[in-house]
C-alpha cells in the first residue's frame, strides 16, 4: 500500500502505467456513458459561445459550422475537459510540482533562448494551427487517434500517420542543427 502511494506521488510514471490508466478510462467512457473521450471538440463548443456573443444574430444564423457541427452548448465533452484540467492540477499537486511559470521548459530555453514573446507567440500560432487541423480531421489526439483507434476506425490511423509525418518535418525545420 505504501509502495503504491509513493508511486502515485512520483512526478513521472512509466508511460505504460499511465497508458493503462487512460485505456481503462477510455473503456469506461464507452461502457458507462456511451461517449468517446475527446478534448478539441469542447474547445470548439466553447468558441461557439464566443462567436455567438461577438457576431450579430442574423450573421451567426448563417454560420454552418457553429450551428450544425459544433453548437455552442455544454456537452459531455465540455464537462470532461473541465475534469481533465482538474485532474492535471491534482496530478501536479500530488507530485508537488505545481507552480505558475511564464517560461515553462528548460529544453526550449536551451534551443531558442529565453525570450518570452517567442515562446508565447509560437505557442499561440501553434495552438491555432492545431485546433484548425483538429476541426478538419474531426478530432484531436484523444478524440480521434485514441478514441477512434480503439474502435479500429480507419480515420484514426490516417490521422496518426499525418500527424507524425508533419510533426517530424516541422520539428526538423525548427530545430535544424539541434535536431
Amino acid at each position: 500500500m505504501k509502495f503504491i502511494m509513493n508511486y502515485i506521488r512520483r512526478e513521472e510514471w512509466s508511460p505504460y502505467i499511465a497508458g493503462i490508466l487512460l485505456g481503462i478510462v477510455g473503456v469506461l467512457a464507452v461502457w458507462v456513458s456511451d461517449s468517446l473521450l475527446g478534448a478539441s471538440g469542447a474547445f470548439q463548443n466553447f468558441a461557439g459561445y464566443v462567436v455567438r456573443a461577438l457576431t450579430p444574430p442574423e450573421v451567426f444564423a448563417k454560420n454552418v459550422y457553429f450551428n450544425f457541427i459544433m453548437r455552442p452548448e455544454i456537452t459531455w465533452g465540455v464537462v470532461l475537459l473541465i475534469g481533465i484540467m482538474i485532474g492535471g492540477f491534482l496530478g501536479a499537486l500530488s507530485s508537488q510540482t505545481f507552480r505558475f511559470r511564464a517560461q515553462d521548459d528548460e529544453q526550449w530555453k536551451k534551443v531558442f533562448g529565453s525570450q518570452l514573446w517567442k515562446r508565447w507567440g509560437l505557442l499561440f500560432v501553434g495552438a491555432i494551427i492545431l485546433e484548425y487541423g483538429a476541426g478538419i480531421a474531426g478530432g484531436c489526439t484523444s478524440g480521434l487517434a485514441i478514441s477512434g483507434g480503439m474502435l479500429l476506425a480507419p480515420a484514426a490511423f490516417l490521422f496518426i500517420g499525418g500527424m507524425f509525418m508533419s510533426g517530424i518535418l516541422t520539428a526538423l525545420i525548427i530545430y535544424r542543427k539541434n535536431y
Binding site: E12, W13, A18, G19, L21, L22, I24, V25, G26, V27, V30, W31, S33, D34, S35, L36, L37, V79, I82, G83, I84, M85, I86, G87, G88, F89, L90, G91, S95, D104, D105, W108, G126, I129, L130, G133, A137, G138, T141, G143, L144, I146, G148, G149, M150, L152, A155, L158, F159, I160, G162, M163, F164, S166, G167, I168, L169, T170, A171, I174
Partner: protein, 92 residues
C-alpha cells in the same frame, strides 16, 4: 448523472496525462525528434488496453459501440498534417 461521470473520467484522464509527462513541452517535441518516445508508448498502451477492453466487452454483449468517427480519407489526412505542424510548434 452522465455529466458527473464525465467529470470523474476527466479527472482520471488529466491525471494520467500529467503523470505520463504529456503536459510538458519537451515530451511532445522529443517524440518528433526520436529522443524520447514516452508519448508514443503512452498512446499505444492506451490504445491496446482500451481496444482489447472494448472488444471483450462487446463480445460478452455488455456494450454496443457508439458511432465510430467518420472516414474522409483526404479530410483526416490533411487534418492530421495540419495538426502535426501545430503540435510541433506549440508542443502541447
Amino acid at each position: 448523472m452522465n455529466y458527473l461521470l464525465a467529470g470523474v473520467l476527466g479527472i482520471f484522464f488529466g491525471f494520467s496525462l500529467n503523470k505520463a509527462g504529456l503536459t510538458k513541452y519537451h515530451k511532445i517535441i522529443n517524440v518528433f525528434r526520436f529522443t524520447d518516445l514516452a508519448v508514443l508508448k503512452f498512446m499505444m498502451t492506451a490504445l491496446v488496453v482500451s481496444m482489447s477492453g472494448l472488444y471483450i466487452l462487446r463480445g460478452l454483449g455488455l456494450i454496443t459501440f457508439p458511432n465510430i468517427p467518420a472516414t474522409y480519407i483526404v479530410g483526416n489526412l490533411v487534418g492530421g498534417l495540419i495538426f502535426g505542424i501545430g503540435m510541433a510548434l506549440a508542443g502541447y
